[in-house]
């Protein structure tokens, strides 16, 4: 059942070659852009480039999933599936498998270009970054599934990106070290899942051993994903008003 759902979601995307092209080309293009913007300060590009490889899939999967699930809700296909022998877990896991695979492809393409052509380097290897990217993509997907319940229209759904994702990006430590933020923002950043996702990526680039903090980062990312999926499951009601 799970596989049937995953296959269906992937087939829908396969019908839309432009979306696939955008999925693969846009992150690479942005990375190239950054490389040249920071041509005079290559160390900045090296510092933020690797974490960005792992954060693009998070942002993109959040957007795609929130729209895909919103379409299921508004087109009646979700309601139809709710009358059929399908559990909510089947649906959530099916989506997870489909978008996880898609994120893996995206992460591999971005990381390959970044590391092979743009001179990025991570002390703990490209595979750690790619795996973290897939994990972050699943977190983005889980959040997207959850928020789709709070959007009535696509106009609303796309606004959740700046509303929920931008603050996390700003506070996660990508732009400025968290220790340099005001106390209130520093503590706020502890409450945001992306802070941990970013920290794991940053640690993967540095030569120091990954250690306990890295393990904590991964654990929090997984926990946040499961929590967001649980929220998503709660919003998938069989009976609606």
């Amino acid at each position: 059942m799970t596989w049937a759902i995953a296959k269906r979601v992937l087939w829908q995307i396969r019908r839309d070659p432009r979306t696939i092209a955008l999925l693969l080309v846009v992150p690479v293009f942005l990375l190239v852009l950054l490389k040249y913007v920071f041509a005079g300060q290559p160390s900045i590009f090296r510092t933020i480039g690797v974490p960005l490889c792992g954060l693009f899939p998070f942002i993109v999967m959040f957007l795609i999933t929130s729209i895909a699930m919103l379409r299921e809700r508004t087109s009646g296909t979700l309601e139809r599936q709710m009358t059929l022998p399908m559990s909510r877990l089947d649906l959530l896991v099916g989506y997870g498998v489909a978008f996880g695979l898609l994120a893996a492809v995206q992460a591999i393409v971005v990381c390959t270009v970044g590391f092979a052509a743009l001179g990025l380097d991570a002390a703990h290897g490209i595979w750690v970054v790619a795996l973290l990217a897939v994990g972050n993509a699943l977190l983005g997907m889980a959040l997207g599934l959850g928020v789709s319940a709070f959007a009535r229209t696509e106009f609303q759904a796309v606004q959740f990106m700046p509303a929920l994702i931008f603050p996390q990006l700003i506070l996660c430590g990508l732009f400025i070290e968290r220790s340099q933020m005001s106390t209130a923002l520093y503590w706020a950043s502890w409450a945001l899942p992306l802070t941990y996702s970013y920290d794991a990526l940053a640690r993967a680039t540095k030569p120091a051993a990954l250690g306990g903090w890295f393990a904590l980062d991964v654990l929090v990312t997984i926990t946040a994903t499961v929590a967001a999926l649980a929220l998503g499951a709660v919003t998938l009601k069989r009976r609606t008003p």
């Binding site: 269906r8 829908q12 019908r15 296909t77 139809r80 009358t83 069989r238 009976r239 609606t240």
Partner: protein, 243 residues
């Protein structure tokens, strides 16, 4: 037919549904005989779709009991036995006809050969590889109908399946519905076109969230003395308003 014909397929008593601050269904009761083609007729906005959603178990209900094939509406075993077609075609517009059907066949556990059978049943042969989004409105609604037939449900709940179809296609579909009923399927079909009442074994006339009359086309004609079912319905409404 496993169900005894005397046992109704649907029994509803005192069903009340509130949406927002409006009572959409007001203590509605009815029963639908097994193996019948029952028409649910009434003007737009009278609560037909809400009633159908309650029968398939996706509607939040304020009070009342809905029993389908002897079980509470929406309970787990019914998900293999009830087919539901919403008013707007609920299929994936970015998949082909066949991809849609293969997906839903996997969900209901239907064998692969069922896909070809239901395509023939709804007269979509030759269009299997077309993307649903590229089909006409009538073709899309038939894909939606085909999807509901995959699992050979014992009860089919169809919300306005013939709306927007040309007369030839409409006649074809009604023939299909009667064939399904002969094989033992119970069909509940809504329409706001009173002419379609003539195609049904039984009719439920609905108005303002309640059942105005449960009768047969013949019964409605003789009660009102009107051979034309549209006028008969109007007459019934006028008399119910004046009393």
């Amino acid at each position: 037919m496993t169900e005894h014909p005397a046992t109704p397929a649907i029994v509803i008593s005192g069903l009340t549904v509130v949406r927002g601050d409006r009572q959409v269904l007001t203590g509605l009761s009815l029963d639908v005989a097994s193996g019948s083609v029952t028409g649910l007729l009434g003007p737009s906005g009278c609560g037909k779709s809400t009633l159908m959603r309650a029968i398939v178990g996706v509607q939040l209900v304020a009070s009342g009991a809905v029993t389908v094939l002897g079980k509470p509406a929406g309970s787990v075993p019914l998900r293999h036995q009830v087919g539901y077609v919403t008013q707007a075609p609920s299929v994936y517009t970015d998949l082909s006809v066949e991809e849609n059907l293969r997906f839903f066949a996997a969900v209901v556990g239907a064998e692969g050969t069922r896909v070809d059978e239901v395509v023939q049943t709804v007269g979509l042969g030759g269009l299997e590889q077309r993307v649903v989004g590229a089909l006409s409105g009538g073709q899309r609604s038939r894909v939606s109908l085909a999807t509901a037939l995959l699992g050979r449900p014992r009860l089919l709940v169809l919300d306005e399946p013939t709306v927007g179809l040309d007369p030839v296609l409409r006649a074809d579909l009604w023939r299909t519905f009667h064939e399904l009923a002969r094989e033992g399927t119970t069909l509940l079909i809504s329409s706001h076109v009173m002419d379609e009442a003539a195609e049904c074994d039984e009719i439920l006339l609905m108005r303002d969230g309640a059942i105005l009359r449960q009768t047969t086309p013949e019964g409605l004609r003789s009660e009102t003395g009107e051979p034309d079912l549209s006028r008969a319905f109007l007459k019934l409404i006028e008399s119910s308003v004046s009393t």
